[in-house]
Amino acid sequence: MSHADTMPKPRRNVELLLLVLALSVSIGANALISIDEQTSLDTDFWFQSSLLAVASLVFHVVLRLRAKYADPVILPLVVALNGLGLAMIHRLDAPGDDTGNNQLRWTVIAMAVAIAVIWFLKDHRVLRRFTYISLAVSALLLILPLVPGISAGEILGARVWIRLGPMTFQPGEVAKITLAIFFAGYLSSNRDLIMLAGRKIGPMQFPRFKDMGPMITAWLVSIGVLIFQRDLGSSVLFFGLFIVMIYVATSRISWVVIGLTLILGGGFVASKVFSHVGLRIDSWLNAFTEEVFGRSPGGSGQIVEGLFGMASGGLVGTGLGQGRPNLVPFANSDMIIASFGEELGLIGLFAIVMMYLLLFTRGFRAALGTRDAFGKLLACGLSFAVALQCFVVIGGVTRLIPLTGLTTPFLAAGGSSLLANWIIVGLLLMISHTARGPVDTSPMQPGRTPEAQKPAPVTAAGSRQDRNTTQTLPDAPTEAVKHL
C-alpha cells in the first residue's frame, strides 16, 4: 500500500461530476414533463431548473470550503432524488395548482438551512453538548401540535401539524433529528454502564431494570405520538431509531428483543384500543373487500388505487407524463412512490430505491469511519431512520405492511419533511467529513476507547481502517472545543 493511498482525498471533483449527472437527470425529467404537457420549455421551466442547479452548486462550493472531505456521493444522490420529486410534483399539478413551485421554494430553504448547519456548526461533536437541550426541544416539538392556538388541528386524521402564519409545519419531522442527537449524546455517555451491568439469560444478556429508563422513555414517547397525534408512522420511526441506537451503543441483541417485544405489544394493544390503528390494519389486510375499499375515511381506496397505478406501470412504466397517477389520492405526497412506479415502471422505481440504499449506506459508512462514539451513533441513527422511513412508506404503498402517514424522504411534497431530511444530509456530510478527513494528531492516550482496542476490521477499503489503529481519543469533548 503506497503512501498516496493512505492520504485522505477530498474527492470534491467526483462530487461535481456526479452532481452534474444528478442535475441532468432531474432537469431532464422536468423537461420531459414540460414538453409532454405542451407548455414547452417556458420561462417557468428555465427558472426552476436554474434555481435547483445554482442551489446545488452553492452547496457543493460550501462543501469545498467547509467540509472538503465529506462523502462525495451523498449530495448528488439527494439532489437527484429531490429533483425527481420536484419533476413529479410539477407533473401532478393540476392547472392552477402551485405545489411544484412551493416544493421548489422549500427545497431552496432546506438547502440553505443545511448549508447554514455545515457552515456554523463546523463539527458535529459540538452537538453533544446539547444532549439534554435536544431532549427538551424534542418534547416541545412533539407537544406543539397538541397546543390549542398553535396546532393546525386534525388534518386527515392526524394531529401533527402546527400553523405558522399562512403555512403549516410538521414539527415531528425535526423532532426525529433532535431525538437522534439526544439518544446519541445520552448513549455515548452512559453506554459503558448500560452495557456492563445486567443478567445473563441463555445466550443473551439482559439489562438491569433501572437501565431500562431511556428505553421506557422512548417507548412512552412513541406510544404518546400514536395516541395523541394519531401518527402511527412517526411512532414506529422514533422507536426504531432508538432501538438501533441503543443496539449500536451496547452491541446487545437483547435490547432489540426487548424493543421489538414492546413495540409489538404496544402495537397490538393500540390496534385493539384505537380505531385509527385498527382501521389501518383492517384496510391493509382486507384491502380488496368492497366494504373496506369504499370506506371513508380509513378505507383502502388509496392503497388499492396506488397498486393499480403501479401495476399499470409494469416493468418499464408508461413514461413520464403518460400515465394516470392522478387517479391515486395524495399522488404527490404519501403515494408519490406509486406515481413513480406507474410512470417509470419497475426499473425506474428500483433505481430510486437503489439511490436511497446508496444514500443510507454512505451514512453507515460515515458511522463506521468516524472515530467518536457520538458521531457513530448519530450517523448510524440518522441513516437507519432514513432507511426505516423508506421501508415504512414504500412497504405501505406496496401493501407489504399497513400504510402509515410518513413522507418519502426528498421526493414527497411537503416542506417540513424536506427541511428535516436536508438537515440530516448536512449532519451526515459533516460526520463523513470527520470520518474521511485527516486524523487529528493529538497525543495518544491508549486504551480509553473500547473500539480502539479492537483490531481494525478487515475490509477492502483499508485506508480509513488504518487510521483507527492510531488510537487517538477523538471522542474526548475537549477536542471538539479545540476545533472551535
Binding site: 449500536v248 416493468l315 412506479g341 415502471g345 449506506t361
Partner: protein, 484 residues
C-alpha cells in the same frame, strides 16, 4: 460498536430487499390480476379515446364512436339515447362502463381473442385500434312502438321475444335517461347528469337492479301459470278437475283471510274449473292447489321456469335473479301462489316463463346478440339459439296454452285479442296497497304456432289504468309483429 453498525446496515438492507420484492410483486408478478380488477378504472381510461366498435340495431348504430376533440380522438355517441339506454348502458370516464358497453367490451374495444389478427394488423399499419361491431336481435320498429306505449311519467317495462329462439325483439322501460350526458367527457357535466339521473326512482341506470332485467316486482296472478303447471305435473289434477273457489280462504290460528279477485266473475261460483279460474283469475283455487301440493312442488316448478335460477350466458346484460321464497308458512304459501307476499320476478323472467309455455315447455336462453363483426365486416361470432332448460312437458304446455287462449277469448284478458289470430295470455294485478298495483300482461301469438311473446308490466297504477295499459298495448305489439 462497528460490528453493531454493520449489523444495523444489514437490517436496513434486509428491509430494502423486502421492498424490492414487494415492488416486483406489484408491478410484475401480480400486475395482471390488479389490471383485471373491476375497480381498476385505468383500463377504461386506456381505451376511452379509442375507436370502439358500434352497437347496431337493424343496420344502424345506436352507439358509435365519432371523431372527438383534441384531447380525445374519439367520442362515444348514442343515437335515440333514451330508447336504447337500458341496453347500451354508457361508456363514461367518470362513472365507468355499464350495459352492453361493459358486457361486450372485449369485442367493442377490439381486445377479444377472435380479433387477435386484426390487432396485429393495426399494430403494423399504425391504424388507430378499431373494435368489432355488435349487432342486436332488437327490431327497431317494435322497440320504438313498445317504448312509446309506456306513457311518459309512467314506470313500466315491455319485453318482446321470439319464444322459439329466445331472441329479444324489444326490451324497453321507462323512466330512461340519455347516456350521452353521462359519457360527455366533461366531468362536471357528467356528474350533473348522473346525479340528476340517480334521483329518478326506477331509472334503468343499472340493468341488474332496475329496468326489464333488474326490477324485481311482485308478479301477481301471472304466477298462477306456475301453479297450473305444478298441478298438472303432480298428476293429482287434470283438465277436468274441479277446484274449490270460496270467496275467502281462512287459515287455522290466524285472522288473515285470503280474498278472491274482486275484478272478475269469481264470486259467481263456489267451485271452478282450471279454465274458469284462469279466465277470471280467481285466487282461492290456486291457493288451495299450492296448499295441497306443498311448497316444494311449487318452488320446484318455479325454478324450472327460471325463478331462483340463472338465465344463461346469451343475454350478456347483467340481470337480477327472480325470487320464489322458501320456508313459507301456510298463509305465506297461499299468498305466494298468487304472486304476492315475497315472490319477485323481473319482467324478463315473466317473458321467458311465457316463452317456455309457448315453445312446448322448452325454455330458450334469452339472447340479445345477433352477430359480432370484425372491423372488416367478417362475422366472428353469431350466437345460435340455446335451450336453457325444460320447464314442463309439451302436453302440459299445450294444455296451459289452451286455457291461456280462453283467457283472451273469453276472460279478463280480452283486451289483447287480435282479430283473426289466436292469442294466449294471462293478466296479473299485484296489489301494492293504497289502491295501486303492478299490472301485468304476458302472452304469445299465434297460439298454435307462437311467433312472438309479449310481456307488459306497468308499475304503481290503479285498476283502470292497468287494464288500459297492459292488454291493449300487448295487442298492438302482436299486430305490429305479426302483420309486418
Amino acid at each position: 460498536m462497528n460490528q453493531a453498525i454493520r449489523h444495523s446496515w444489514i437490517a436496513a438492507i434486509a428491509m430494502f430487499a423486502l421492498i424490492f420484492g414487494a415492488i416486483s410483486y406489484v408491478q410484475v408478478v401480480g400486475a395482471d390480476e390488479l389490471k383485471a380488477n373491476p375497480w381498476n378504472r385505468r383500463a377504461i381510461l386506456q381505451n376511452y379515446c379509442n375507436d370502439r366498435g358500434a352497437i347496431l340495431v337493424g343496420g344502424s348504430a345506436i352507439a358509435e364512436s365519432v371523431p372527438g376533440n383534441e384531447s380525445c380522438k374519439f367520442q362515444r355517441r348514442y343515437n335515440q339515447p333514451e330508447l336504447y339506454a337500458g341496453l347500451t348502458g354508457y361508456f363514461s370516464r367518470s362513472y365507468g362502463v355499464t350495459g352492453l358497453e361493459s358486457a361486450m367490451d372485449a369485442q367493442l374495444a377490439g381486445s377479444a381473442d377472435q380479433l387477435f389478427f386484426d390487432r396485429i394488423g393495426q399494430l403494423f399499419l399504425g391504424n388507430q385500434p378499431k373494435g368489432a361491431s355488435v349487432e342486436l336481435t332488437i327490431d327497431p320498429k317494435i322497440q320504438k312502438l313498445a317504448y312509446d306505449l309506456i306513457p311518459d311519467g309512467q314506470r313500466g317495462s315491455i319485453v318482446v321475444t321470439d319464444p322459439k329462439t329466445g331472441n329479444i325483439l324489444a326490451m324497453v322501460s321507462k323512466p330512461s335517461y340519455d347516456p350521452n350526458l353521462i359519457a360527455s367527457q366533461d366531468v362536471s357535466k357528467e356528474q350533473a347528469a348522473y346525479n340528476a339521473a340517480i334521483k329518478v326512482p326506477g331509472i334503468n341506470l343499472n340493468p341488474s337492479v332496475s329496468g326489464p332485467t333488474g326490477a324485481l316486482l311482485a308478479p301477481g296472478s301471472v304466477f298462477k301459470l306456475v301453479d297450473t303447471a305444478a298441478a298438472l305435473k303432480s298428476g293429482k289434477y287434470n283438465a277436468d278437475s274441479v277446484l274449490p273457489n270460496p270467496a275467502q280462504m281462512s287459515f287455522p290460528g290466524i285472522q288473515y283471510q285470503l280474498p278472491n279477485y274482486a275484478g272478475g266473475n269469481c264470486y259467481t261460483r263456489n267451485t271452478a274449473s282450471f279454465a274458469f279460474a284462469l279466465q277470471q283469475s280467481c285466487n282461492t283455487p290456486f291457493a288451495s292447489i299450492a296448499r295441497d301440493l306443498g311448497e316444494k312442488a311449487i318452488a320446484e316448478q318455479a325454478s324450472k321456469f327460471g325463478f331462483n335460477s340463472d338465465l344463461g350466458d346469451q343475454l350478456k346484460l347483467d340481470y337480477a335473479r327472480s325470487i320464489f321464497p322458501s320456508n313459507l308458512d301456510d298463509a305465506g304459501l297461499a299468498q305466494s301462489a298468487i304472486g304476492q307476499r315475497d315472490v319477485r320476478a323481473t319482467p324478463l323472467q315473466i317473458a321467458v316463463m311465457t316463452s317456455a309455455i309457448a315453445n312446448s315447455g322448452v325454455q330458450m336462453a334469452p339472447n340479445l346478440i345477433k352477430a359480432v363483426r370484425s372491423p372488416d365486416l367478417r362475422v366472428i361470432d353469431e350466437p345460435k339459439p340455446v335451450a336453457l332448460r325444460t320447464s314442463t312437458t309439451p302436453e302440459i304446455a299445450g294444455q296451459i296454452t289452451e286455457w291461456m287462449t280462453s283467457v283472451v277469448s273469453e276472460g279478463i284478458g280480452s283486451g289483447a285479442a287480435v282479430p283473426g289470430v289466436e292469442v294466449a295470455g294471462k293478466t296479473g294485478t299485484a296489489e301494492l296497497g293504497d289502491g295501486l298495483n303492478n299490472s301485468w300482461f304476458t302472452g304469445f301469438a299465434p297460439a298454435n304456432d307462437p311467433q312472438v311473446s309479449v310481456t307488459v308490466v306497468m308499475q304503481g297504477v290503479d285498476i283502470t289504468a292497468g287494464a288500459q295499459l297492459t292488454s291493449p298495448n300487448a295487442k298492438r305489439i302482436f299486430e305490429a309483429v305479426l302483420n309486418k
